[in-house]
């Protein structure tokens, strides 16, 4: 079932790792419109941090470029696209494997995609070598609906 887009935002910044905190905090602030739990918000921040780090470290490989974030909210879901115009990924399946990293000497753990996949509901990666990479992540925010329901229940109990 496709729900209508209720809000969207775009963010562009230079590929400096100092911007990782800026990116995840901005997306989290935008996501907070859906009234997520603290844990859901932490999951979103972590996944955004991983995707942005990938753009900076791997996509642009320390060269300067632009990282783009496009986020949309539906009634109960956030969809976040994070893209770079960097070098691209040759084999996405291998890149996604836990512990796989092209930069072990820099203490990279190779857990970026694994974390994105377990903290978000769905992660899609599109990449063309030499042109760039786009990661699309979706997460349903369950909190709102459940809270409203439990509030109703609470009301019913107190009425009795």
């Amino acid at each position: 079932m496709k729900s209508e887009i209720e809000n969207e935002m775009k963010l562009e910044f230079i590929s400096k790792s100092a911007n990782e905190a800026f990116a995840r905090i901005t997306v989290a602030a935008f996501a907070s419109q859906l009234d997520p739990t603290i844990e859901e918000l932490a999951d979103i921040k972590t996944a955004v941090s991983e995707a942005v780090t990938n753009c900076i470290i791997h996509g642009y490989d320390k060269k300067q470029g632009i990282v783009k974030i496009f986020a949309r909210l539906t009634e109960n879901e956030i969809i976040i696209e994070i893209s770079d115009k960097g070098k691209g990924i040759e084999n996405i399946d291998i890149a996604k494997e836990p512990l796989y990293t092209t930069k072990p000497n820099l203490e990279r753990s190779g857990m970026g995609f694994t974390i994105m996949e377990s903290f978000m509901d769905k992660v899609d990666v599109e990449s063309v070598v030499g042109l760039g990479t786009k990661v699309t992540m979706r997460k349903v925010i369950k909190n709102k609906v459940e809270n409203e329901e439990s509030d109703d229940e609470f009301e019913m109990i107190t009425k009795e």
Binding site: E20, T53, E107, S109, M111
Partner: protein, 106 residues
């Protein structure tokens, strides 16, 4: 990041006070390695009580320090992990090598 060395136990405690990501981790790593080399501790504890955010950069940070301390004959333990930090460490499998210890929140 604050650090404290207890001479009698050869114990070095790092209290990390920054968010841990690819940017901040470079500074934390430099300071930790400097202190480890200076004190040659038997045990190093990383206290996460004041860490409000960590991504996979934290995994590399801890594995790297674990290897370094082990090479010098010491051990590493982790303390005061929040649920999301614990989740990230669990996913990486490093909790099989590095124990979680109790450390009073200071």
């Amino acid at each position: 990041m604050e650090s404290k060395f207890y001479e009698e136990d050869k114990l070095l405690i790092f209290k990390i006070t920054d968010e841990i990501d690819d940017f901040s981790v470079q500074k934390i790593r430099r300071k930790a390695d400097y202190e480890i080399e200076r004190y040659m501790p038997k045990k190093v504890i990383f206290d996460f009580n004041s860490v409000t955010f960590m991504d996979s950069a934290g995994i590399g940070l801890i594995i790297g320090r674990y290897k370094f301390v082990k090479m010098l004959g010491g051990t590493v333990e982790l303390a005061n992990l929040t649920s999301s930090i614990r989740k990230i460490f669990e996913m990486s499998g490093i909790l099989r090598l590095i124990p979680i210890t109790n450390l009073e929140v200071s």
